[in-house]
Amino acid sequence: MARIGVFVCHCGENIGRTVDCARVAEELGKLPGVAHAIDYKYMCSDPGQALIKQAIAEKKLTGVVVAACSPHMHEKTFRRACGSAGLNPFLCEMANVREHCSWIHEDRDAATDKAVDLARFIVEKVKRNVPLETIRIPVTKRALVIGGGIAGIQAALDLADGGAEVILVEKEPSIGGHMSQLSETFPTLDCSQCILTPRMVEVYQHPNIKLMAYSEVAEVGGYIGNFDVKIRQKARYVDAANCNGCGACQKACIVRKVPSEFDEKLGKRTAIYVPFPQAVPNIPVIDRASCAYFKAKAKGVKKDACGKCKEACSKGAIDYEQADTFVTEKVGAIVVATGYTLYSIGKDQPEGLRGYGEYGYGTIPDVIDGLQFERLASASGPTAGKILRPSDGKEPKRIVFLQCVGSRDPAKGIEYCSKICCMYVAKHTMLYRHKVHDGQATVFYMDIRANGKGYDEFVRRAIEEDGARYVRGRVSRMYRDGETIKVQGFDTLSGEPVVIDADMVVLATAIRPQPGIEQLAQKLSASYDAHGFFNEAHPKLRPVETNTAGVYLAGACQAPRDIPDSVAMASAAAAKILGLFSKAELEREPTVAKVDAALCAGCFHCERVCPYGAITRIEVRDRKGNLVKIVAEVNPGVCQGCGTCQATCPSKSVELQGFTDEQIWSEINALLA
C-alpha cells in the first residue's frame, strides 16, 4: 500500500489568497494511500523542506506530492530534498496550483476545487511512480573532426590545445579547404595563404592531432561519449611513411595536362600530384583516372606500362598495389565541418535545381565563377596573380560581376542568400583595380548585404576609392558578340535598360552544401534542411549543436558562412566539446524509453518516428542460440525522452519512464473524483 505525503504550499499569499489550502490538504488527506497531508506558508523555504524530510522519515512515505508552483520552478528543489531524506527523487512530483490555478482564477471555491483536482491527479500518478536512477554514460575524451578546411582546422586546434585528442578527417589529399584557394580575404585584404598555412602546419605537428587526409567517414555507430567511427583511407599509391616530399615523381610524370582542381580547372597538374606547394601533408597522390600506368593496366597492357614516377623515387615510396584501408576509431564527440561547394550554371543540375540558359548554361568563354577569379588573382595561381582571360590570355579591361547567381532565385531552386558574395565581389573589384589600373569593374546586384565589422566600409571603399560601378538590377541575358560578352541588364535606380560590353564576366554563384552531405547526415542521424545544409539544434540558443547529442557543427555545412563566422562556430563547437569532456561521466535524466523485449513484435514503427535514431534492432535468441525474433531496443544515451515511440507502438511494448501509460491512465482515471 502506498504511503503518499501531500504538502500544500500557500506561497505566502500567492496561492492562499484564492485557494483554500487547508481544505485542499484536508480533501487530499481523505484519499486512499495518502498517509500525510498538510499545508504550510512556504514549502520551498528551509523549514518547509524540513517538514517534508521529517514526514518522509516519520511516516515512512513512499511518495511525495507538493502542491505549489510550477514544476519548472521548484521540482529540482523538492526532489533534492526527498533525495537527502533517503527517498528516491523520482518519487516526488509537483501539482501546479499557482501558475495554473490561483493566479488565473478569482472564484475561491472554483479555484480550490481545481487545486484539489490537480493535486489528486498527481497523487494518483505518484502512486505508480517507481524509483529511477540517473543515467551515467562514460565519455571517451577524443573528438572526430570531419573536414579540414578553416572550420575543421580551427576546431581541431582548439580541441587539441584544450587537451583533447583529435582525429581530423579530410577527403582531399591536403587540408586547407577553400580558404587555401583564396587570394586575399575581406575586409582586411590580408593574404589568405599567409594566415592559413601556419595553422595547417600546426595541425600537422600537434601531438594531440591525428591527421587523416585523403580519407572519408564510412560508418558511424554509438552515441554521445561513445561513437565508433569507421574511416576509409583512400589509396594514395604512395607510401606516406617513406615519402619525403621531394617532388621528383611529379617532375618525372609524363601526364602533365590534367586540369587542376585546386586551380579550378584554370591550371594544369600532373597525374601524380600534390594539390598545391604548401599542401599538408606534403605527400603526393596518384590520380588513377589520368595516370598512364593505371590506364595501360586497365587496357590489359602487361609490361611497359609507364612507371616513370616509381623509377624517379629514390625512397621506393611509389606503390601501385596500394588499396583502400579501413580503421575504426572510438570518439566521444564529432564536429562536422564539411564546408561548401559552388552552384554552377550548367544545364545538368542535381534534382530540384535549374541552370541559367539565359546566361548560356556556362558555355560562353570567359564567364567564370568567384573561385576561379580567386585563382586568377592569387599570386600562387595559374597566371601568377595576373588577371588574364582564360580563353586567349588577354588582360580584360571591362569585367562585369553578377551577384545572386543561383542565390535568392527560387525559380532556379535556391531561395536563400549566400551571404558572402556581396563581400567577395567588392573584394574582387578592388583586387582587379589594383592589378589592372585602367580596368573598369561593373557589378550587378540586388541588395548589398555587408553586415559585419568593417564590412560596409569595405564595400564603400570599393565604390568610392576603387571605382567599381554598382548597378542595381539583375541581368536578364548574356551572349557572345565576337570577343566581347554582351550583358543585358536593367539599372533599376536610373530606370534604364543597360547593355554592357564585357571582356570577362564573373558570376557570384550560390553556396551549396558539399555533395554527399545527406549520406553523411544519415550516418550521423543528424537532420538537414531542404537544401542539404545541416540543421542546428536551435537557431538561437544551440547554434553549433545538432539534435543528435555529441554531434556539432562548424562552418558552411550549416549555412553559407564566411571565414570569421566559420572560425567562431569552430571555436564554439570545440568549447562545447571540451565542456563535455571535462566530466568523467555524463549524467542524464532517466526519463527515457525502455522496450519490453517479450512484448515487442518487431514492427519498428518506433524506429521510423524516433527523431534521434535512438532505436536499434537486437536479436533475441533462445538457449540453443536459434534466432527467435528481432526486437527494438532504446539506446538510453541517445533517447531524449519525447515518448513519440510509445504513442506509436501498436503492441504497447515501449514505455517512457516517468510517463508510463499506467501513470497517465491513473491521472485520467482521477478525473472523476
Partner: protein, 191 residues
Amino acid sequence: MNSMEPAHGGHGRPTLAEELRRATGRNPARCYQCGKCSAGCPMASETALRPHDVMRLVSQDRREELLAAESIWLCLTCETCVDRCPNECDPARTIDALREMASAEAPASVPRALAAFHRSFLDQVRLTGRLFELGLMAEYKLRSGALFADVTAAPGMVSRGKLGFVPHPIKGVKEVRRIFDACERANQEKP
C-alpha cells in the same frame, strides 16, 4: 473590421495586389524589384512603365495610375519576363489582368488603336467562328481611324492570294457565340 476579410488599402475595397493575386493565382508581393523582367523586356525602351514598374505600382496600390497607363497595352505577351523572373512572379499575366480591369473600369483609357484591334478581332470571331483577316483589317481601320496607315498591304495581299474570300460562318458558330456570352457574363458577375 473583420480580420478574415482580405487586406484593404484603407479605402474600403481590396487592394489591387489582393485582387490580382486572386485573378492570377500569383502573389504580386513576391516581386523584389530586381528588374530582370525589364532587362529582358523587348518593349522596355519604348514604354513609360516597365514590367518591374508595373509590379511596383501594384504593390503601392496605385490603381488609377496603372489602369490609365498606356504601357500595359504595349506588352507583347512574349513571356520572357515570366520565364526569367527569379522569384516566380508573372508580370505578363499581371499585365493581362490589368488590361481586363482597365477595359471594365476605365474603357476610355484603352488606346484607341488597340481597343479597335481587339474589338474587331473578337467581333469577327463571334460573327463567323473564325478570324477573317481582310474583314479584320477593314473593320480595324474604320474603328481606329487609321484608314491609310497600312494602305500598301491589302493589294499585295490579294494578289498573293493571301486574304482569300469572305468565309461562311462555321457550323458551330452559335456555339462560339454562346461561349462569348457565357465568358462575358462570368466576368460581369465577378465581385
